[in-house]
Symmetry: D2
Subunit: 351 residues, 4 copies
């Protein structure tokens, strides 16, 4: 299963074309829209005021409620567009946004309204594609769950990587603010509101577990490496700037005797007592949950005035982004990270 995300923030629609979707999947459209509503903004002061209904139209690949096996195209129309907000920014790239790099890459022909194809709005079709992936995985006993690991330096409780703790992650997913520890969650919210009040934004991290994957998926090679496959999908999520498996960067300061995950037989299966490797050894799954953490940068669009350049004149300039922006996208990104992980898991399983 491969996917191509298309669309622009202020174009007629965003969408995704999925190829290689196994046939016969009874697509749960309500489940799909549930995932979309998890990422939707416009519902609280923690997020952008842009409000989209995110209704999914299926253009192809579905017949009598089931996937046909031929390309599945999902389209989400853009409704709440206020393009005027952006006209002013045309020549003033927002620092650390894709504006400038995209301007060079596409020779200035990109749609500059709301970030165009670089907009966070493109995570809507990604989430929809991931929801399809999750439904496929569920039939094979594979589940995906995530929670906010940190926002603005405030940490949620950690996951027990050996057990995966699907129940905790499902409980978190049902929350408006998906954390394991609601106390930490409350402090995170405050930090977001505080940043917002100051015309600023905050970053954070998301921890994700994929359980039920069999051992032996992946390979040490460049194209089939399990970590590489997850990385390919995760770094394509806007704002992700770091990725670590298992104990990740923590391993750098550990001894081998601490880091190594001892094997033990458990009910006839090989298991590890710890899961510092995050379920992957030598590029191949070892049967333990795949656990990773993704680092998300603070939203680059902030109200505060910033230094930039004017691409039309080639001179230094100042910029203050108005429009409607998220002071933090980490909480909204939880289902997006899950979606990318689910799509990666499908690739790993050759679905």
């Amino acid at each position: 299963m491969e996917y191509t995300i298309f669309g622009e923030s202020h174009g007629p629609a965003v969408g995704v074309t999925l190829t290689g979707v196994p046939s016969g999947l009874e697509l749960d459209m309500a489940g799909l829209e549930r995932e979309l509503s998890r990422r939707a903004g416009g519902r609280s002061p923690l997020s952008t005021a842009r409000r989209e209904e995110d209704r999914v139209e299926v253009l192809s690949g579905l017949f009598q409620g089931r996937t046909t096996g031929t390309p599945l195209t999902l389209v989400i129309r853009n409704a709440d567009r206020r393009s005027g907000d952006y006209e002013r920014l045309k020549d003033l790239p927002r620092p650390s946004h894709g504006d400038y790099a995209g301007w060079v890459r596409y020779g200035g022909f990109g749609d500059y309204r709301g970030g165009g194809h670089f907009s966070g709005r493109l995570t809507a079709p990604l989430t929809a594609a991931g929801a399809v992936a999750k439904q496929l995985l569920a039939l094979r006993g594979v589940w995906v769950g995530a929670h906010i690991a940190s926002i603005a330096g405030i940490f949620d409780a950690g996951l027990d990587a050996v057990r995966g703790q699907r129940d905790l992650l499902e409980a978190a997913a049902a929350k408006e603010f998906p954390v394991l520890d609601d106390g930490a969650g409350e402090r995170m919210r405050q930090a977001i509101l505080e940043a917002r009040a100051q015309g600023d934004s905050v970053g954070g991290s998301i921890q994700c577990a994929v359980g039920g994957l069999p051992a032996g998926m992946g390979a040490p090679d460049l194209d089939e490496n399990a970590e590489g496959i997850f990385a390919r999908h995760l770094f394509a999520v806007p704002a992700v700037k770091g990725l670590e498996f298992g104990a990740g960067f923590g391993l750098c300061a550990m001894r081998g005797s601490q880091a190594n995950d001892p094997f033990r037989m458990e009910e006839g299966r090989v298991r590890t007592l710890t899961n510092h490797a995050g379920g992957i050894n030598g590029g191949i799954t070892n049967g333990m949950p795949v656990v990773f953490t993704a680092a998300l940068r603070p939203t680059p669009s902030i109200a505060r005035e910033q230094d930039t350049v004017d691409l039309s004149s080639g001179e230094n300039a100042r910029l203050s982004v108005r429009g409607r922006h998220d002071p933090c996208i980490v909480h909204r990104a939880v289902p997006v990270i899950e979606a990318a992980a689910a799509l990666a898991a499908c690739q790993l399983l050759r679905l």
Copy 2:
């Protein structure tokens, strides 16, 4: 340029087949072997006692000293093989090594001697391939340099990501122990020797810069995302368990106003005043050095006795790895990380 690494630690040879190498490159074989000697072990108590000459034989793709443009195959014969050391380990997978996952993946048909295809020895042809990539990049003004960022929790001086500091990295590369700050390096060595004395190993991290890349390379999409391309190559390096661009995980606790890299005109070019994004915005290079840090886990092969299972009997077992192993591979991995980065940069530049 794509590459396929082949070979097993105790098979006749390791090597690499590169396709899409631009024709006409005058291959500097001495430069190639210089890179190989940077990663070679057998020279100090900091590394394995296995000693290989690592002479490169070119089987194809080179004519009159220049690349032909058709596949380039480089072969390095294995000489110092002591396979007997490994026979005992056949059914006892080393914790956190690829042994068990590979055993499942390949149905037990893998070459178990010295880790087979999962051996660190396979980084020799990777380094050779990377040396070819570096020579190609040099013709286009692109350079790659790296240093040990940390070992066993001891940190080297940090790189100035805006300036890239090629001179410092080149000076480090010339050292047997590639750090910027030799005092920190000395403490790292002590930590390695201490771990070795205790039959243990240590991990660390490597910071790498790729300078001279033009802005506008990459795309937001799944296959061409600049971060995804680097990640694909980096996670294929054994022991890499984490990867971050620019300030990476540090961005999680930053405000947007701190994290954003302000643009400024400098000698007619758009530059940023900081480089927290590591030279990539929206999956596309922005013209600043691409700077990333990779986390490397401690070597899993340690002399200390560990818990494992016996795959032939399906029972719990104990394991003590003898053979010749590295108490730390971070210092030897510096040219390997550079190699993977150079190969990634070639992909990004469509070389």
Copy 3:
């Protein structure tokens, strides 16, 4: 540039998602619809009675009339659907149609109405994608033209492969029935009408030229072989069952001294006096027009009663296809073959 065709004959829409389209192309929508009208049916007794307007909606990748460089999605709504015609055929696969093979492949979950994703209707988005490709190629001086080479054993005049004869092909393209020799064309029409009267269909072949390609594109390898690239795109066109470059199968009975295309300098450029190789040597273009001929089988959907099997009962059965079908698709396929050739040429040129 890669493309994914999606849709089903009787679903809401057919369409295509193109990735890697160079940015800044001023898309000539009228040109696009002109190509679509060349392949449209419903205009004469030579074709199906199904009549579609084939209006193209651009969902993404176009801004202010120019391509943005990010995915371009074109959608054509299905209007004239009479699904009832097909319900009866659900379990009776049409001989030599994709019905049965697709039923096995997709486990019976395909959309059986009008062939679903296997319908000739899917050549509409292919033609639209090809029209985009043609506009890109035109900017680089590359043109694509084709004519009916034969229908029902009646042959059109042959093309002079050395000269390419763009003018003749353009004149043919403007005709409702694209032949070089209208006398032959009239005999072909009669053969089609005769077959139609007998509830039967006829096959034919299409000769296509791609002019203006520089020498040196392609490679001898599996993925970049110029002939392989054209073949990949051409065999994905429904009904194509054979493909030959230059003199093709005629070369089998030739001597080397006849078949070889002698080189000669002409206005400072290397040219060949003949073009039996169809512009490709060793998998690489040689600067002469790429000329190929594709064999198209007769439409499998015919009114005559045929032997088939009933997939629901596993018993032999008889089938008479009603619905609206083409007695010949060769004349409608001319722009489709051109489209596939244009898309192949873009891949060859790494557009």
Copy 4:
């Protein structure tokens, strides 16, 4: 399973790196060399006088006689090299050989001795790779067989495409000159010797059957189309200029009622009474043997004097190729075509 052929005719070696080879295959090296000896020249006046032993060295991917699942590299050393023969041709491209196109493609850096990477010698590692593929296929009940369909306009008996006639093809394979009808074969030999005596060469065609493939393999799409997959592998074989499935170009002059292959139940399985489609409908196998014919051009290297250009001076020139050449490569190409078909079948079966 993907493969990369490497090497040059007069370099140290030719070889192939195969990735994705399933593990545990007990490689029959004698079978491998048997295939190589089928394609070897140097044994009769029908072929080149160059005589190579073609011993296969396995550099990687084989352990205790079985494939490990990690890359398999096979190397064949070049022994009988007489490079002096070619020095003279350096600037005089042979008409219809890859010399000129390759010179442009690779900027004149290719190995010009004996055609370099464009040499027919590269079909040796292709044949070896195909032999591996055949052994994998045999375990799944899939077989591949081919015969000379024509040489110099003289036709062998045709294959019954419905039955596949494996026994006849195996008998042909055992012959030095692989035809079904030895009388036709004798006339072909005479035609070859006659051409040789006149300093000329002849072309021909090869018919190939792949039996035992299950129905439902492939897809209508660009990358998975069964015909496209075979085409990709077949057009990468030097000298192939045409390819047709089943009745192929013969379908152009047939009516639908003649061309359609009626379905019928046979021992509980769906079969067709004829096999004009060559076992593929809509890009997907239908369970019948895949049967195709490939057109091979006459060897371009002939002793007769020909027109060419001098690339060093940019002037017209005359050329007479001496060296050791084949007056016909069709009979030697039979195992090569089988090899390409076997590799295609592996791709189709996702092996």
